[in-house]
């Protein structure tokens, strides 16, 4: 069932039409990272959308019902300055009327060893990795069914840490609607239902499934291609969703122009601009 619907949203040069369904984990990818943040601010109901984004057919902008069910975090940012769980529980209850599950926070803290990434003086200061851990623990601790998370594995380098966070954020037994803006798409290998690419080429979006592949072509490919599938293009390469016919593929393969990759590998081929 579709819970969040985006119809003809204009954002910079993009025209966006996407449906987000229940029990789905979706990632958004754009070559310009800033666009993902702006898009999330709109679909989270923080900024106006000119009547183009609907949560169960109601405009998401400042929609109380939607706000109660969702949380939007950018893991680059620092959200907690204290790790005192009783204090946090009271603060969330009194200031925001939000349930903070301190047992869940404690559990995640122990698994990721957050204390090891924290220096406690009069305030807590975390390493960059620690900040990502804390934000993840916070996300898990808030009883929200819909999550929108930007840069979920930012500043992480250890594979086990990345796996814990990627699995935790795509846990459909806990979350209903999961929308991610991965800084490292490969961390979510096989964990997503859909990947939506913001196409620089046709200023729209291209949707890929978990098992889809991409084609990386050197330079501008010869022959006629369906422009609707081109995700990224510069002077050196063109990346497109693999919807080519067999003969088209064979032609390209003969010329040695082509490389087929998983949708999760796109970050290895595109250096994304950092805001």
């Amino acid at each position: 069932m579709i819970s969040l619907k985006i119809e003809n949203l204009k954002l910079n040069n993009y025209l966006i039409n996407i449906d987000f369904s229940n029990q789905q984990a979706v990632a958004i990818w754009a070559s310009d990272i800033k666009i993902v943040g702006e898009f999330f601010s709109i679909i989270a109901g923080i900024n106006k959308n000119n009547n183009t984004c609907f949560y169960y057919e109601k405009d998401v902008f400042d929609n109380k019902e939607y706000f109660q069910s969702r949380v939007y975090f950018d893991f680059r940012k620092r959200y907690l300055s204290s790790l005192k769980l009783n204090y946090l529980e009271e603060r969330f209850r009194q200031k925001y009327n939000i349930v903070f599950n301190k047992n869940e926070f404690r559990k995640v803290s122990e698994i990721l060893d957050i204390r090891g990434e924290t220096e406690v003086s009069n305030v807590c200061s975390y390493t960059k990795t620690g900040n990502t851990f804390v934000n993840y623990a916070l996300t898990r601790s808030l009883e929200k069914s819909n999550i929108i998370i930007n840069n979920p594995t930012i500043n992480l380098s250890i594979k086990t840490d990345i796996d814990i966070i990627a699995s935790g954020l795509t846990d459909k037994s806990k979350y209903n609607m999961i929308i991610l803006g991965p800084d490292n798409l490969s961390a979510f290998n096989d964990k997503l239902d859909k990947i939506i690419f913001f196409s620089d080429f046709n200023n729209g979006t291209i949707m890929a499934d978990n098992k889809d592949s991409l084609i990386v072509v050197k330079g501008v490919p010869e022959g006629s291609f369906n422009n609707e599938n081109i995700i990224y293009r510069n002077d050196e390469k063109t990346i497109l969703l693999n919807k080519l016919t067999r003969s088209e593929l064979k032609n390209l393969q003969k010329k040695g122009q082509l490389e087929i990759i998983s949708v999760y590998q796109i970050d290895e081929y595109v250096l994304r601009s950092d805001p």
Partner: protein, 205 residues
């Protein structure tokens, strides 16, 4: 278990507010008794209460919209809820301050000038002027935060406003029409703030 219970009470807003309020009542009483002999200006404490309140209101409003607005929205509080909570907080603060001032006047009259009436003792035009200034300055702080004015400029403007107010309060008498103008400004600013917070596009940082 006992410690947890104690912490829960200690972190409770109402408990903290109640404690601060009782402390204020006690300190006002002590101040009046101590100042009885030295014949201090009777409105000095009232200026202090509203001066402090104006400073806190201005900084609180500025910080709310400059620093905390986005994170509140991200965690799931709507703009309308944020503004309503802000407005309620400001009003509760004002009511508490007015109560403290009324208490001070009452005790002052009882302890020091029992022969005069409250109207003879205190200039009520100033008593109206000060809360209105608090509201106006707080609402200006709210706008400064929304337009993301820089911290240094903010404090500079704040200093100018405070200096101006001190000069007005000390050297000029406050006419009723000034209070009416202030009231109109407060109402207009309240509406402007609401429209700003509802329509303002929050930028990515």
């Amino acid at each position: 278990m006992k410690k947890e219970f104690f912490l829960k009470i200690w972190h409770n807003y109402f408990f903290q507010l109640g404690l601060a309020f009782v402390s204020a009542l006690f300190l006002i009483m002590v101040a009046i008794v101590l100042f009885e002999d030295i014949d201090l200006d009777n409105t000095m404490l009232i200026y202090n209460i509203f001066g402090t309140l104006t400073l806190v209101g201005f900084i609180y409003s500025y910080n709310l919209t400059k620093k905390h607005l986005r994170s509140k929205l991200e965690v799931g509080i709507t703009r309308k809820q944020i503004y309503r909570n802000y407005f309620v907080n400001i009003m509760i603060t004002l009511i508490v301050a007015l109560f403290l001032v009324a208490y001070y006047m009452f005790v002052y009259k009882k302890v020091i000038k029992n022969t005069l009436t409250i109207l003879q003792l205190f200039d009520f035009k100033k008593m109206l002027f000060l809360p209105l200034v608090f509201l106006l300055v707080s609402f200006i702080g709210f706008v400064f935060g929304i337009i993301q004015i820089k911290r240094k400029v903010f404090y500079l403007l704040f200093t100018v406003i405070v200096m101006g107010l001190i000069i007005v309060v000390i050297y000029f008498s406050i006419a009723y029409f000034i209070n009416l103008i202030l009231l109109a400004a407060v109402l207009i600013m309240g509406m402007i703030n609401y429209l700003l917070i509802i329509n303002y596009r929050i930028k990515e940082k």
